[in-house]
Every structure is written in structure tokens, then in C-alpha cells.
Symmetry: C2
Subunit: 513 residues, 2 copies
């Protein structure tokens, strides 16, 4: 047995079952090991951002660490943007990054670079292996670190001689760590505050508190206290739709968020960090809760937020059921495509149990606002602001949940970042429907310029405009193996969506806005 | 004047004239400043790897630093692979990376990350600005650092409040530093060695020694001493073709390179580092010169290699002219496309003064071997092994040299990494002809597996094969705005190339191998 085989055996024993890979020469022993040791499905991405984003989507849906296989510093670097998003989403991921043989590093051959320096900003744990005989232990530690609640990115740098050298044993699986119980004292403090100031308290939900069970308990607490139910602007994963309480996302623009939060005298944080402005604006604070607002951390993101909410509901003698959204699907829209009619088109035909990956940017908000009564669905958003997350994340979510439909709700500018993910969807015959919201601009930047009072001169127009030439998403998608059509009205979008949802495999619809 | 305007004024005064950008909200003040202060051409890339790769190509052709404009850590990360190549090519580049306002960093908002940790592995110089009043000085220092011979990647991290805050002055331009003169002692040592062992000495050329003047002096030295003329496997830039001496590239596979170098008793290094194996192989050394081989550093990469070679030629009383390759263009090939007929097809119609960007990987070598007598052309190669360099580098080279034709000689696997660069070629109407060598596999990995004696099982096949689905490069290219055609024979490739070379603007040819 060589180190590579010991590593893969250790992965399989720990329940790791998928590897998103773009290997190079250095990683070939691991490729061979995946053939020698069955149990891991290898999925090729044509660019590493497609691999790491897919691992993020897979982790959000399964809570199991996926493996990524990346080639030296540049291969890791190509995956960093989506690892940044994964880190913010607390997705469990173990990156295996190939490196030159230990004895070859000092020669500073062309591919050599400081991989650890690249890995640290996106990794809770980084280790460079030194020996084939301990590689399996190193890797087991990586899995263990990735599993630390609420989930971590772990990066193991593996010199090729550790893969090809002899290994005498694998590392035994460990029982994945459980999230810590929240403190009784904080539960009591939250209960006191909610009893006293119910209406002027916001319960801010994050992380596991946004699962169906967490949301239902939160609804009971709201029923008992009239508190508001809020969540972060960009939740990693949230259940939503009929039968669940509607959760209000904190606004993206700080002035709106600050105004909304100003009515609260206390924030109870359940699995959520203290809210901050996405971008700091001159004259506005970084921390957007009002001055003097009491902040009670009911549960930290790494604690058991569902249990914390249940303890809180019990302490409040909350009713057995809270308010939930009634089923409400809009009828099929007609007329020109706008962000609103686009949202209605999706909602009018949205299948039960859909996973919606939202990187629609300025075109996406209406769907969220109108979807409280939709057939229950899972909502995944762009957690870290590193664009290019949507198509890869949808790819990973579809691999995690083959029985569910995935909708990649995608802006055109950010979609171009990791367009290579479409090919993986085609290769793996994944049930992903992509809507590209083709407004043919970096609209968010145009809006920001207007908000800042900047006059857009010729250079600003050239740097925010995506016409000249127009991107033809239908051709790009077909070129990557994914069937594609175009919709330029709400009727045609509904029709194309119905066909796509009823057809196995991926499909892309370019929605002309 | 705000900091952003002071920065752009400083850039213009220093002769920086182009900015490869994908800005985000944070960088909008710089976008506005490029409108307020004329003199910089802004070029949008739809992915940061397209921007940094273009800056590399621009720097290789002009030796002037290009500016890149990148959004936070993830935007930089997306550009790191091509900055890695640029670092190996010694291309002068100044990256400006937007960061949160100084007072907002501590809030750890979603986009926040350790940008400096990401920048260091690819940058000779990294600085985080702290104040708008000193931003112009920081930036001038960045330009100065990028201009240090033989060229550096410099990265300036700019918090947004340094861009929007007041600046009272710009920084004056400095005279770019000149490369140091090589030591007379090393010239004399090299002359002695060459006189004694002429035939068994290799003159290894790198960096500026590969310019036309350097090559012609090297030919004189070879004429005087019968030494061999070699260069690195992956030179950043080399002049080649009729009228110049033919330079032998050191082989990629270490066993071949070691065998070739074993005949030499001395290596004279002119602007080249000591040769190392691209990948270290068990049982083979990292440093591939034979044991006991004398290594004389005639000039380091940061020294004036042309002057060093001239001193050496003078010391050797070398003839006024050395051997040069006679003009030799193959006739138009016919029959199926192979790497060889592909090379002949290019060579049969290759225009004078072409710039060839070689990321053709396993399909590329025959062109190099057959091109010694081609119409003089400039050869740029994949210096750092980070794939995805070809299309962006060609984009930057075409912007640097609008009067020359650029041929992007591109493998399909690596081409997919930064395919977004095609759109920039279309937007800027660049005279780039791309040949995609569609062998529909990561052929280099399949060859490596065979060399390692690995049996390719199903997982290995899936991870190295690019069929299922086949990439349709014609559709992808057209979708990105670049006219495209397909060639499946040598005749049709010749025909398509002739049309492309005679037509302004970009064109892509998918060559089916």
C-alpha cells in the first residue's frame, strides 16, 4: 500500500464518498488510488473553481465533507474564491493539494509556490505532510477538522513522495464531533428579554437554526413573544416555503438594514454572528445593530442552535405551533421579463423540494420576497461575496440530492466566472436547470455608482457593461454540452421552465431582461 | 483630488497606460478616476485570470508595467494562477487590490480575507495602504518595485477610504532602474572556460538574452567556440526564425534533459537560472546539470545579459556574425491533422512578425522544432506551469502590439481555464487567431500515467478524458463573440488560417486532432 492508497482508504472509512478533482501530474497517484480503492466517486471539473464550489454545494446539502483534488499552488488558487464562500457557509471540505516531492521543493521548479500562504486565508486548518507513513493520520486529522461544528475548510498539502512512498496502515474513522450544547444561562437571558420586550426583539437565525426544525421552533417563539424573525443577508442554507415561517433577510444596503434594525432594543442571535454591513459606508457603523441594543448570543454558529431554540421555546412556554406561511403560488405571468415577472414565472411552476441556488444578484430579490408560500424549497445563497459561486454550487447540490430538482438562478456577469461548471453538469447528467438573468451588465456596480453620485463616463461604462459583444448564453451552454434555450417573455420562460423541470439532465435558459 | 485620482495621475506620469480590470463596488472610485484623469486605457476581463494573464502578455511585449484592478481577496485569488506565470516570466505588473475601509476590516464582513497572505506567493512586493494622503507614494513605490530588473509583480492593497479620502499631491515619476552590469570577472571566467572546452560547453540563455540582439551575440560566441546554445524549457519570451540562431530548449522530461546535458562539462548561464527538473522524479536529481559540471553565472536574470554576452564575445574575439537559420517554410501540408501537420500548416502561412503564444502542451512541440527557419516571430511560453495562460497572454500581447498578428496556440484542456479572455479579444477587436488543439483529453496526464506504468482504470479515464460531452469550441467561441470555424484536415486548417490572418479582429479555429 502506498500513501495515496492509505489516504483514500482513510477517506472511504470516514464516509467521504465524493472527490471534486482537476488533477495534474503530481496528483496522479491519488487518481490511481481511487481506482484501486473503491468507494469514492470522482467528478472532474474543467477549472478548480468549479470543483471547490461544487464541494461547497455538496457540503451545504449533506453536511459531509467532500474531497477536492487540486494541483499545486495555482490549482488551489483557482479554487480559492469558492473556498472563501465555503468558509463563510461553514461547509465541510477537505482540500488535498499536490506539491513537489519534499526533496524537490528547494529547487524552486516553475510550479513551486508557497501553498500554505495561499491556503491559510480560506482554511481553518492547513498542514503539509512530510512522510508517506503518517499521511493517512494527517488526512484523518483534516477530515476531523473539517467536521468541527459548524463545518470547516481544511487543507492538506501533499508532496508527491508522500503519495508514492510506503504506508503500513490507514487511520481509523472517528465519530464526527457534535455541536456543543448552548449555555442554560444564555437561554434564560434570552427568555427574560423576550418576555419583557417581545415585539422589540429580533431573533436572528443563522447556520443550523435555518433548518426546518429550527424555523418551526423559531415560529413558536414568535407566537409566544411577537418577536421578529430575521436572518443574515446571505444565508448559507435556509428552508423556505409553505408550512414554514417566513424569515426576513437583513437588507444588503447598510442604510436600509440600519433603519430596519433601529426599532429593536435587543437581538437574540441563534447560530448567527452579530450583523455587519456588507460594505462599510462612510458615516455609517460597521456593526449595524442600533447603539445600546442588547445582543444575546443564544447559540454561537458552532453550537446546537436547534436545541437552544427548543430550550428557549420551553422556557417561554411557547405554543406547540407557530405561524407558518400558507401555500401561495402566483399564476403564470405574461408580458415582458422583469425581475418580478421572472420571479413569478419560477414560482408558478416551481416543483416541490427544489433547491434554489441564488446568485441572481440584482435580479434575484423579488423571488425571495414572493416565495414565502412556495412549495417548500431549500435556499442557498452567495455567502462570501466571491462571485462565480452559483453554477458550481448547483452542481454540488445536485450531486448531493439526485432526487431533487436544482435551480441555478444566475446573474450573467457572475455566471461567466465559473461557466465551466456547466460541462460537469452535462457529464454527470445532473438535474440542474439554470436561468441566466441576462441584463448584460454588472448592474450592481451601475446601481452603486448612481448611489454614490458618480457620473458614469466612458471608462466606467466600458467596465460595467456586458454588451459589445453580447454574450450568447445559448451557444456557450451548448458548446459546454448543456442544452439551452432563450426566453424573452414571461410566457416563454414559464414554458421553457416546465419543459426543463420535466426533463432529466441539465438545461439552461437565457432569460433576456 | 481624492486618493484614487492621485493614484491614477501617478500612474499616467510614470508611463503606465493600460489597466486590466474587473472592478467591484470597492474599486469604483478608481473607475471614476480613470474617467477624471485621462491617459489609461481600461480593458475589462470577465474573470480576473483573463486580466492578470493579459497583463503578463502586455508586460512581456512592452517591458512596461500594466495595472490590474482586482476586487478584494477573491478577485486577487482568481488572478493568482496567471500572476504565478507572470512572476516566473519576470513580467512587470502592479496589482491594485481593493479592500474594505480601514475602519471596516475588523468587522470581518463577508468579503473580508487576508489579502496579503494571498498576494505574497506571487508578489515580490506587497503593501497595504493606510492613508489617502500617502496612497500616491505607495503606488509609485509599487511601480518602482515592478520595474526592478528583470521585472516584478507588485501588489498594492488599497482600502476604499484611501481611495475616497483627500490627497494633496501625486508622486513624481522616477527613472526606471536599469539592469546592473555583469561582473568582468565572470565574463573572463566564462571566456576561459569556452576557450578551453568550447564544444563541451552549453551557453544557457534566459530572460533578456533571448532578444534578437542577445541571440545574435550568442551566435557569434558559438561561431568562435562551437559551444551549444540552449534555453530553458519554458522561456518567457524568445525571438525565433530565419536570420537568428536556432536555440535548443531543454527537454521537459528530466531523463531526456539529464541525458542531453550529460555531455557538457560547463554551463555558462546568461540570464538563466540553473536548470532544474520541472517535476522531480524519484531517483533523479532536482538540478539536472551533470555532477561536476562547472556552472558560471555570466549574468543573473536581473543583470544586463546582452551587455554580458557582448563582453564575452569581445573577450573571445568572436567573428562579427554567427550562424543563423536560413529561411525555410514548409509547403502546405495535406491529410489528417496531427501535431506535426498542424505545425506545418501554421508554418506554411505564418506571417512575418507574428507573436506565438504557446500553450499547446502536447500538441505544441513540433511547431517549435520546425520553426527555426520561419519568418521571424516572437515566442511566448507557459513559464510557471499554471495552465490557462494562453488566451489571456495572447490578449495582452495583441494590445501591446496592435500592428502584429498574434497566434494563440492553445490546448483544449488548458484553454477552458480562462476561456473568458476570448470575449475581451472580441470587445477590443484584437488581431488574435486562436488554434484550439482539440485532442479532447488531458493528454499530458495520460502520457504521464503511461510513463509511470499506471494502468488507467475507470476513474483515471474519467479524470483525464474530455469527451462525454465533447466541448464544441466553435459554439463556445461564437457565444463569447469571437467568430469561429473548425478544421479537421491540414488543408482546411491552412485555409482557415489564411482567412484568419487576412481578416482584422479575432478568430478561433478548432483543430480536431
Amino acid at each position: 500500500m502506498n500513501g495515496a492508497e492509505a489516504l483514500i482508504q482513510t477517506a472511504v472509512a470516514a464516509g467521504v464518498d465524493i472527490c471534486f478533482a482537476n488533477p495534474g501530474t503530481t496528483e496522479l497517484p491519488l487518481v490511481a488510488a481511487m481506482d484501486a480503492v473503491p468507494g469514492i466517486r470522482s467528478v472532474l471539473g474543467l477549472f478548480e473553481g468549479a470543483c471547490t464550489g461544487a464541494a461547497d454545494g455538496y457540503g451545504r446539502m449533506t453536511r459531509k465533507p467532500a474531497l477536492t483534488l487540486l494541483h499545486h499552488g495555482p490549482g488551489l488558487a483557482n479554487g480559492i474564491a469558492n473556498l472563501h464562500n465555503a468558509r463563510r457557509a461553514h461547509s465541510p471540505i477537505v482540500n488535498v493539494v499536490g506539491q513537489h516531492a519534499t526533496w524537490h521543493i528547494a529547487a524552486d521548479a516553475p510550479l513551486n509556490s508557497d501553498i500554505a500562504s495561499l491556503a491559510r486565508p480560506v482554511s481553518a486548518w492547513v498542514l503539509s505532510s512530510q512522510d508517506s507513513s503518517t499521511l493517512a493520520d494527517d488526512f484523518a486529522e483534516g477530515i476531523w477538522q473539517a467536521q468541527q461544528p459548524p463545518g470547516n475548510v481544511a487543507t492538506l498539502i501533499v508532496p508527491v513522495d508522500c503519495l508514492t512512498g510506503t504506508a503500513s496502515r490507514t487511520a481509523p474513522p472517528r465519530i464526527p464531533p457534535s455541536p456543543a450544547c448552548p449555555s442554560e444561562e444564555r437561554v434564560m437571558q434570552a427568555a427574560t428579554e423576550l418576555r419583557r420586550f417581545g415585539k422589540s426583539v429580533a431573533l436572528l437565525l443563522g447556520s443550523q437554526a435555518l433548518c426546518a426544525r429550527g424555523l418551526k421552533v423559531a415560529a413558536r417563539i414568535a407566537a409566544a413573544t411577537e418577536c421578529a424573525l430575521l436572518c443574515d443577508t446571505f444565508p448559507a442554507r435556509m428552508e423556505r416555503g409553505a408550512g414554514l415561517p417566513a424569515i426576513e433577510r437583513i437588507a444588503y444596503y447598510p442604510e436600509e438594514a440600519i433603519k430596519r434594525l433601529s426599532v429593536f432594543s435587543a437581538l437574540v442571535l441563534a447560530g448567527a454572528p452579530e450583523p455587519v454591513a456588507f460594505f462599510g459606508k462612510q458615516g455609517m457603523p460597521s456593526f449595524i445593530a442600533p447603539p445600546g441594543c442588547l445582543k444575546i448570543a443564544l447559540s454561537h454558529p458552532n453550537e446546537d442552535s436547534e436545541a437552544a431554540l427548543e430550550s428557549l421555546a420551553d422556557a417561554l412556554l411557547a405554543p406547540a405551533r407557530g405561524l407558518s406561511s400558507p401555500r401561495l403560488q402566483p399564476s403564470r405571468p405574461t408580458g415582458p421579463l422583469t425581475p418580478r415577472s421572472l420571479a413569478e414565472a419560477i414560482l408558478s411552476v416551481q416543483p416541490e423540494g427544489m433547491i434554489l441556488v441564488d446568485e441572481a444578484a440584482t435580479s434575484g430579490l423579488p423571488h425571495y420576497l414572493l416565495s414565502a408560500g412556495a412549495p417548500p424549497f431549500t435556499y442557498l445563497s452567495l455567502t462570501g461575496g466571491a462571485i462565480g459561486q452559483g453554477l458550481p454550487c448547483a452542481t454540488g447540490a445536485a450531486l448531493a440530492c439526485p432526487d431533487r430538482r436544482v435551480l441555478a438562478f444566475q446573474a450573467d456577469g457572475s455566471g461567466m466566472y465559473t461557466v465551466q461548471a456547466l460541462w460537469t453538469q452535462a457529464r454527470e447528467s445532473l438535474n440542474v436547470t439554470t436561468i441566466v438573468c441576462a441584463n448584460r451588465s454588472y448592474r450592481v456596480l451601475q446601481l452603486e455608482m448612481a448611489r454614490m453620485g458618480m457620473k458614469a463616463g466612458p471608462q466606467a461604462r466600458r467596465l460595467t457593461d456586458l454588451t459589445a459583444p453580447v454574450l450568447d448564453w445559448v451557444e456557450i451552454s451548448r458548446g459546454l454540452g448543456v442544452p439551452a434555450t432563450r426566453a424573452d417573455s414571461a410566457e416563454s420562460l414559464v414554458r421553457e421552465l416546465e419543459t426543463a423541470f420535466a426533463t432529466p439532465g441539465p438545461h439552461l435558459i437565457e432569460a433576456i431582461l
